[in-house]
Every structure is written in C-alpha cells, then in structure tokens.
C-alpha cells in the first residue's frame, strides 16, 4: 500500500488566499472611490483639448541662446544646492552619530550597562534624527521658504535637515554593525573617545561611509530639483514657472536637462563607489 492517495484538486492553501483576497478587495473599493479613480476624465472633450494644446507646445524643445544660458545656470545651481546641502547634512550627522554611538560609551565599559544620563542623551539624539527624516524634504522646504524667503537657502536647509537625519541614522547603523572590540580595547586602555573612534572604528567602516555619502549626494540632486517646485531655487523653480505658463517647449528642455543631470550624477556616483570599494 505504498500508493499515494490521489491528490485533491483544490489548493491546500486556499483559506488564507481567499481571506487575503477578500480583505484586499474590500480595501480596494473605498480606496478607488476616495482617489476618484476615473480614467475617463482624460478623454472628455475639455481635458483632451487642454492636453493636446499643451503637448503641441512641447516640440521643438526651447533652445534659444538666452534660454540655454538659463538652463545651464539653473542646472549648476541645482547641483550646488545638493552639494552644499549634503555638506551641511554631514556637518550635522557626523557629530550626532559620534555622540550617539553606543560603542563609545565610557560608562558602559566593564559593566555592560550605560549610565542613565548617557543613555538618555543617546536616545534623545536618535529621536531627533528620526523626526528630522520623517518630515519629507518638500515640507521642510515649504517651512524654510516661509522662514528665510524664496531661493537657494531654503533648498539647502531642507536637504541638510532631512539628509542629516537619514545619514546620521545610517552612519550609526554602520558603526554599530562593526566589530566594536577594537574601539573598546582602546577605551579600556585609556584612549580618548575620538581616538578610539578614529583608530578603532573608522578604518574598517570608512569605505562604507564614503560610498553611502556619495549615494546620498546623488539622491540630493534628484530631490533638489523637486524642491525647486516650492520656490527653493534651481532647475525645479524654473520648470515650475514654465509649466505655469504652459510653455511646453521649455518644460521639455528642462526635463531633458534634468534627466541628463541625474544620469551624469548616477555615473559619477557609480564610478566613485567602485573606486572606493
């Protein structure tokens, strides 16, 4: 009697699948209703006419000499905003991540538990970093446009704060994923915290820190374009103006330059990262 029983035809996992499908559909309907999901709006007469008119202005892309100058200028500005924002973000993330690094705790040495005050300080910094990065950079940019006025500074600050939060958190994770024994040995033997960090932790994690920074710089270029849409300078601000005036040719040129810029940043970042590794 080694013959296997005939296999049933139905799916053995069906209860779970049916339940998840039903839940899924139940959620889908109200969500579709809330988002006013209706592809027909694209095809009614007025919007067809509007999109046709707008699309017709897309070709040829704008290419007068003054416009090209503006294009290059605002593209450079976008890169500058991203870079300066990233430098400020590092200026915030490095000290924060150093202070919050658990491996550099002196009070923990030998007793496996941190003192109360150091633990509170470390948790507080982690908390601040987490709030900084939970607010989208666009919202920061809106706030800074209110506080310091239209222009590059708002974009720089928005990138600095959001990316400071992200980079700080990731740096902390990188430090704490390393073998902490080297730093601890240095601390036990009387080295200062900065020394213990520079000679115990940094050598093994520097490539990772650098390559993450370069990757974030690439992301910062992407987002600095977007920040321009709320008036924080650079390519996005110009693109928004052209879009408002329904000047498709200029929009297309801006888009092409943007895609080119992102592509170049992507190449540079990939090249640098392979070089670092």
């Amino acid at each position: 009697m080694l013959l296997a029983k005939p296999q049933p035809w139905h799916d053995p996992a069906w209860p779970g699948r049916v339940t998840s499908t039903v839940i899924f559909l139940l959620l889908l309907l109200p969500a579709g209703y809330i988002t006013e999901f209706n592809p027909a709006v694209f095809f009614d007469a007025t919007s067809l006419r509007a999109s046709k008119q707008f699309l017709a202005t897309f070709f040829p892309p704008a290419h007068s000499l003054e416009f090209l100058q503006l294009l290059v200028q605002s593209a450079w500005k976008t890169v500058a905003i991203a870079t300066v924002g990233m430098v400020l973000a590092l200026g915030m993330a490095l000290p924060c991540s150093l202070v919050a690094n658990r491996a550099l705790s002196l009070s923990r040495l030998g007793r496996h538990r941190m003192g109360l005050l150091p633990a509170i300080v470390r948790a507080g910094i982690r908390w601040i970093l987490s709030i900084l990065r939970s607010i989208p950079e666009l919202v920061w940019a809106l706030l800074f446009v209110r506080a310091v006025g239209l222009g590059d500074t708002a974009g720089v600050m928005a990138i600095a704060l959001t990316y400071g939060g992200m980079v700080g958190k990731v740096f902390l994770e990188i430090y704490e994923a390393q073998d902490t024994r080297a730093a601890e040995a240095l601390l036990v033997n009387g080295a200062g915290r900065l020394q213990a960090f520079c000679y115990g932790t940094l050598p093994s994690c520097l490539p990772e820190l650098l390559s993450y920074t370069v990757y974030r710089w690439e992301c910062a270029i992407r987002s600095s374009v977007i920040l321009g849409f709320v008036g924080a300078g650079g390519l996005g601000q110009q693109m928004e103006l052209s879009m408002r005036m329904l000047n498709g040719g200029e929009v297309l040129s801006f888009l092409l330059v943007f895609i080119l810029l992102v592509w170049i940043a992507d190449r540079i970042s990939k090249g640098l990262r392979t070089w670092i590794d």
Partner: protein, 255 residues
C-alpha cells in the same frame, strides 16, 4: 605611489567642487547661523501651537489623511501590475528588441520625478487625487519594473522550462514555475516603495493633486499656522503608521 596620486587628485578636485558650490549660491551663510534666523525659525515652530483641534477641521484632516493613504495604496498597486507587465520583456523573456524597448520606457518613467508627473497630469486631468495617484503609479512603475526585472533575471529558469517542456502553457508555467521564486522579493520591494510613496503622496498635493499636501499648501499659503501644525502632526503619524505596518507585513512576506 600612483594610487596616492589619484587619491590626491580626486580629493582636491572634490574640495574645489564643494568650494565652487558654496560660492555660487547667493545665500548669506553667516546669516543662516545667526541668532536672528534661529529665533525666526523658533518663532515659526512655536506659532504652530496650540494646534487647531476643532471637530470640523479634524474631520477634514482625517479625510485628507485617508485620501493620502488611498493615493499611495492605489498608486503602488497599479505600479505593481504595470511594473510586472514591463518587467517581463525587460528581463529578456521575449527577445532582445522588446527588452531594449521596455528598458527605455522604464528608464524614462523612473527618471521623471513624481511631482513633475503630477504637475503634467494635473494639466491633463484637472485637480484632484486621481492625477496624483496616476503620477505615483507612473513613476513607481519605472522603479518597480526595473527591480522586478532584476529579480526575474536572477531567478532560476529550470522549473519554468521544465513545465514548458511538458506542455504547460506559458502563463501557467510562469505562475507556477517562476513567480513563486520571486514573490518574497517582489513583496519586499513593493512594501519598500509603499513606504516611499506614502511620503510622496503626502507632498504631491503641492502640485494640486489632493491629500494632506494640498491642505498643507493651502493653509501654509494663508499663514494658518495652527492648522499647518495639525497637518504636519497628521503626516508624521501617518508615515510612522505606514512604516510599522509595512515592517510587519515584510516580516510575514519574507518568512
């Protein structure tokens, strides 16, 4: 020696680049860290309090939160479907020509940011959450399509080919031979994008595409700071909630 020289060149070039960036921005950097601008920032933050908590406003904010959630959710869902649709040719399932075409399409979709898509769709379809949903869906299709294609390329082909050789149709062979290998990966990519999209959906409203962002833009423009504070709080809560949900689902999906 040679390595040292390249290192020096790259470092110097990098420093020059950073300096050039600092100087080409018009901002007054000394003013940024002055007491005056710090106090202005503090004033802005304190002006959020007390938060606006009247029942009518809370109801409106709750609806906008729900709208943001729905936008991110439907947008991600559409992107999963479309992404899978483009990932099949992009993973070299149907020949080199279609692969090239699919890759170009995915790259273009991905290169244009959500906010630009939203602005374009708002022109074509009018204000409201629907263009925002589509904008998210289109950009995310580009991102997910590429990730899915990579997952498909790395999955073992043998079970699929074995099924095909025994006369199973291509769709059934795909669903039983290939898809099960990559579902955990697909699920985890999808959840990751959902987390991203909730943040994006929260700000898409700036381009007039509904949700919390549109409310934020409106109230901030009118200097209604108490309302702005409430909306910011709602955003923080929503993002936190979605991150928690997505972590939980990811644990389940990967297990």
């Amino acid at each position: 020696m040679d390595r040292l020289r390249t290192r020096l060149t790259i470092t110097c070039g990098f420093l020059l680049f950073v300096l050039a960036c600092f100087f080409s921005l018009s901002g007054d950097w000394s003013g940024l860290f002055s007491r005056e601008s710090a106090s202005r920032m503090l004033e802005l933050v304190t002006s959020f309090f007390p938060l606006e908590l009247s029942a009518t406003f809370l109801r409106k904010a709750a609806y906008a939160t729900l709208e943001t959630l729905a936008i991110s959710w439907i947008g991600t869902l559409l992107a999963v479907i479309a992404g899978l649709f483009f990932a099949l040719p992009a993973a070299h399932m149907w020949g080199a020509f279609l692969q090239g075409m699919a890759r170009i399409v995915l790259n273009v979709l991905r290169a244009v940011p959500e906010l630009v898509w939203a602005a374009l769709f708002v022109i074509a379809a009018g204000l409201g959450p629907f263009p925002g949903t589509l904008a998210l869906a289109v950009h995310t299709t580009g991102v997910l399509g590429r990730l899915f294609a990579e997952a498909l390329e790395n999955a073992p082909r043998e079970p699929y080919l074995a099924l095909r050789r025994h006369g199973v149709g291509p769709i059934a062979a795909f669903s039983y031979g290939l898809l099960p290998h990559i579902t955990p990966q697909l699920a985890s990519y999808t959840l990751y994008r959902w987390e991203n999209n909730i943040r994006a959906a929260a700000v898409l409203g700036v381009a007039g595409a509904g949700g919390l962002g549109q409310m934020l833009y409106y109230h901030m423009g009118l200097f209604h700071f108490h309302e702005t504070g409430t909306i910011l709080l709602a955003m923080l809560l929503l993002v936190g909630l979605v991150d928690t949900c997505s972590n939980w689902l990811r644990m389940r999906a990967i297990r």
